[in-house]
């Protein structure tokens, strides 16, 4: 089994793989498959994952996170052959009036920044998931395969967990305007704090495909 995950999004990708393996009710999506330099590269149309009612969420001026985990699975199997992870941090700049998107995946673990002026542009950017590296193209030479994707909006990420741990370990002091105070109980609670499967998570799946349906340039 080849598991290639983005360095920055590896934990999420592995979590996603475990979740994906469980299956569930997946929403059908369109997928494009291409063999590029010997690797299977997928593109997904994830418009159903970003309905219009997310506009208010993404335009609230806070940092919103979209975690995308894509897995390649045999049609009749639940162990992914390859997993791809991508994390998008979206912040609406209320001064500049534009969306600033930071994309982290295997190709750019440090993140690459994109900007979009409008919700329509942002939605297009989020929905049009491209360059999803699903491992060697030879892996799908035989049999029938399925591409599944899990999209989580504002999941409990490692960063959020760390930030929350810091927050409860150093709660605000009782004095108004006072500096954070160190709390023994809070420090222990932060140490014992585990993540959750919280967040808005949706599962998508493309129709099964075979090697013949993989485009070659």
């Amino acid at each position: 089994m080849t598991v290639r995950a983005a360095a920055g999004a590896l934990p999420l990708a592995l979590l996603g793989a475990a979740a994906l393996a469980l299956g569930g009710d997946a929403v059908p999506v369109e997928a494009g498959l291409e063999a590029r330099d010997g690797r299977l590269v997928a593109s997904l149309d994830l418009r159903p994952a970003f309905p219009d009612d997310l506009r208010k969420t993404f335009a609230n001026g806070l940092t919103n996170v979209v975690a995308l985990q894509v897995a390649l699975l045999p049609e009749h199997g639940d162990a992914p052959s390859a997993v791809f992870g991508r994390v998008l941090e979206i912040r609406y700049d209320v001064w500049e009036e534009r969306y600033v998107v930071t994309v982290r995946d295997a190709a750019s673990p440090a993140g690459r920044q994109l900007t979009e002026r409008s919700w329509a542009g942002l939605r297009r950017l989020l929905s049009d998931a491209r360059d999803l590296d699903l491992g060697p193209a030879a892996a799908v030479a035989t049999g029938s395969w399925v591409v599944q994707a899990r999209v989580e909006v504002n999941p409990v990420s490692r960063e959020l967990l760390e930030r929350t741990r810091e927050f409860i370990a150093n709660p605000p002091s009782g004095v108004r305007g006072g500096a954070p105070s160190r709390s023994v109980l809070g420090a222990m609670a932060s140490y014992l704090l585990h993540g959750s499967d919280g967040g808005d998570s949706r599962l998508f799946a493309a129709r099964p495909f075979t090697a013949r349906e993989v485009r070659t340039p």
Binding site: N60, G61, L62, E97, L161, L185, L192
Partner: protein, 524 residues
């Protein structure tokens, strides 16, 4: 802790001169806890677990309520809406600046020469206008004015507003927006994101607080349990030691003792241990006394029979020999050698019969020791009276007595015989030098003590127990009955006698007697 018992000590007192270790007194190494310890430990665990459960439930409720208070949904929603409010503020500012720029464009003079002055005046009189310029179609600045105030610490950010003037020209007005808005916006966003994270992890945070509380309480309970176990063990160990000592006592070990530690000497367990030690001491002394007296009685019976068996043939032997001598005197022998032989034999027979007679007398005296009839007396006065009225040849007797009365019950005649035996032993040990004997009288708790010390060669340590056995003697001509008789008399007084030594090397015999209650002073 059981410990070797002092033979002469009482109630856990330090061992006396006759102390001997009790082999069963050593406490065996304990690995398994006693049932008593297990019961106490269980009680402690139960006592700790019940409030622990209640405290955990309370902690869970407290964490939930605190989180509910801290994460009021309205507060969180307001916080999350803060960046949008800033957005509205910025929009309003931008609209205001655009309107101001349009107003300036409308008022812009048509005379090109007047434009610079107008711009200068606009910068001076328009709030937050930092710079204004007229830019032609080629993008070149035709005229401009700028507020000379510096912005060294980034106290404002630029907000440009552009108004087309016609013929490709543009009026560009750059206004200032306070930089603190952006700092406040960042702070608000950070706080809102933190709160959103806490909100997303509310259930997990509550659980982690309960876990932390459980951990702290558990650690505290373990520490308290260990401390309680340590304290309980100190008590249960002493109780277990007592139980073990009682078992050893039941097996017949009368030298077992329970050690009374300095920390627990004052409590009930310490008092119980002290009482146990006293009881064991008294039982052991009583048993020793009974055993010795039974042994002495046996030896007295032997002495009586021996005296009888020896004494009976002595008179016929003597009479027979006297008849032989009388017969020889009636018929003077023709043989002078036989006459000499008979004379020598007669001398030997009479001498040996005399020796046997004295032995019989001593055996008889030992066998017929009279019953002790004690009467109230003062031990110090008795000792002084003995030194004054019972001189022993070859001995100088001194008396040293403690101040105050030392009331005892004594059979004066028999006790006088005891002292005579002891002084006589000192005289014989000191020969040919005269003996110097010191009688000491003192009190120790409820006992009266009489010591008889001399400056002779002393009694070797290994013989100090045996010297009181009947017929045991180290002297060539002794019968070994003197000290046996002395011990029997002392024991019959309820006392005890032991042999020891003084630092200078002489012997010291210590006689202890129960003190008699002093009579009340006569009423005046």
């Amino acid at each position: 802790m059981t410990a070797p018992g002092p033979a002469g000590g009482r109630g856990g007192e330090p061992a006396g001169a006759a102390a001997a270790p009790a082999p069963a007194g050593a406490r065996p190494r304990r690995i398994r806890p006693s049932r008593f310890e297990v019961q106490i430990a269980l009680a402690l665990v139960l006592a700790a677990a019940v409030p622990l459960g209640a405290a955990l439930w309370l902690a869970s409720r407290l964490a939930a309520e605190n989180l509910a208070l801290g994460l009021n949904p309205r507060v969180v929603a307001r916080l999350e809406a803060t960046p949008a409010l800033y957005g509205d503020l910025f929009q309003a500012r931008k609209q205001l600046y655009a309107e101001q720029a349009r107003a300036l464009a409308r008022a812009l003079p048509r005379d090109a020469a007047a434009i610079p002055a107008f711009l200068e005046a606009a910068v001076r009189h328009t709030p937050r206008l930092r710079r204004i310029a007229v830019i032609d179609a080629r993008g070149e600045v035709r005229a401009e004015a700028e507020n000379p105030e510096p912005n060294p610490e980034g106290e404002w950010r630029e907000a440009p507003a552009r108004v087309p003037l016609g013929a490709g020209e543009t009026l560009e007005a750059v206004f200032a927006v306070e930089a603190r808005f952006f700092a406040d916006l960042d702070d608000a966003r950070e706080l809102a994101e933190g709160m959103a994270g806490v909100e997303a992890l509310r259930a997990e945070i509550q659980q982690s607080y309960v876990r932390a509380f459980a951990l702290l309480l558990g650690a505290w309970a373990v520490a308290a349990g260990l401390a309680g176990w340590w304290l309980a063990r100190r008590t249960t160990r002493r109780v277990s030691d007592l139980v073990r000592a009682v078992r050893e006592l039941a097996r017949g070990d009368l030298r077992v003792q329970v050690r009374v530690g300095p920390g627990g000497a004052a409590d009930e367990v310490g008092q119980l241990a002290r009482a146990f030690n006293t009881m064991v001491d008294e039982v052991r002394e009583s048993r020793d006394r009974i055993v010795y007296l039974e042994k002495i009685s046996g030896w007295q019976e032997v002495a009586r029979r021996l005296a009888h068996e020896i004494k009976n043939p002595l008179t016929p032997i003597l009479l027979a020999f006297q008849q032989l001598e009388a017969h020889h005197r009636e018929r003077p022998a023709a043989d002078p050698a036989f006459a000499r032989l008979l004379a020598d034999a007669g001398e030997i027979v009479r001498e040996e019969i005399g020796t046997l007679q004295r032995l019989v007398d001593e055996f008889s005296g030992f066998a017929k020791l009279p019953e002790v009839r004690p009467e109230p007396a003062d031990l110090g006065e008795f000792a002084e009276d003995f030194a004054r009225t019972s001189p022993v040849e070859g001995a100088a007797v001194e008396v040293a007595r403690a101040a105050g009365p030392c009331p005892v019950s004594l059979d004066r005649a028999l006790m006088r015989r005891v002292l005579q035996n002891l002084v006589q032993n000192a005289v014989e040990a000191a020969r040919p030098a005269p003996a110097r004997v010191r009688l000491g009288v003192s009190r120790a708790r409820d006992r009266a003590v009489l010591t008889v010390s001399d400056d002779g060669p002393g009694v070797p340590p290994e013989l100090r127990e045996r010297v009181f056995d009947p017929y045991f003697t180290t002297k060539a001509e002794g019968t070994g009955l003197g000290l046996a008789i002395a011990k029997k008399i002392v024991l019959q007084h309820g006392g005890d006698i032991s042999a020891g030594a003084i630092p200078e090397g002489g012997s010291r015999f210590t006689l202890t007697f129960p003190q008699r209650e002093a009579p009340p002073p006569p009423a005046s």
